[in-house]
Amino acid sequence: MVNIYPNINPPIKIGLQQRLIKRIISVLCFCLFFGILFVSCGSNKDSSNKESSNSIVAYFKDAEVQAETDEQRKQIKLVLSDLLNLKVDELKVKKYPNYQNNTDQWDVIKFLNSYFVPSSPQVLTADSFFEDLGKPEAKAAIQERINKIDGDPGTNADSTLQKK
């Protein structure tokens, strides 16, 4: 007998193989999708933790400076420089001018709260503030803020107005 349909079986096998391959691919896609989802969620969580773990970084991130006169603006820059340059023990006792430029009125936290509006409700407390101040990420955030002010005019306008 001559098999006039020599390829009648292989197509059935190929069909099974295709279905098997499709199933494997769909399983792989499923794993890949949830793998990526898991990794991305994990990394977001990490970065948000990093942001919020340092009270100074969180405070200055997207904070708005509010000041009425050049004298006040000059004082803000001086205080930010002090945050970078003074020792914590010096900062703890140092007093700064108030809104009316009366000297020796406010501690550093009262001063910052009087001029900066953070992007969300936050309270700087002395304990966390002085502890976090020595960390590199806090120094970087303060330096970034000084750079923004140096990049006048538009201390607040440069990044934020465009962003919105």
């Binding site: 000041a67 009425e68 006040q72 809104y99 509006v117 309270v123 201390t155 607040n156």
Partner: protein, 167 residues
Amino acid sequence: MGKCNYHPGRESVNTIGNQNICAQCQQGITEAVKQVNIHVEPKDCFVWYAGSSNWQPITGTGCAHWVAHQLGIHNGSSAEKCLKGFTFRVRTLILGKRIVPLANVRINDIYVTPHVDHTGLVFKIIPANPANNTPQRIFIRHDSSVQRRVAENEFATYFNGRGSFYR
């Protein structure tokens, strides 16, 4: 009156803006309002909830907050509004507004410093007088941290003629 917006397990005893407030929050708000800087107007809503039953005065000078109350501006997210729902950040205040050329400035236009860090309202304009070569004079009413009150100052002198007007 419903449940407290900040502590859903507690009954509210008061409503401020559209916020239901429980007795503990009411007490926290009262204490926080006492700490609001003397020049800030209005004071009773210039507080925010910092978590863990902790109410604090909103930080900053309060200049935008005063303007927002005058003009009824509620721009921004809940994190950018006072207890009564008025905006307190300068850049959020002027969102969606256009700069007005100096010659076209009108009463109730918003004045903003070049640094976008202080704001006030135009309350008086004395038109230019070509007969005696007098220029236009613009007067700004603003919540002034320096003067410790809602003050009235001339644009050309107090603000050195610098800044922008928005409408």
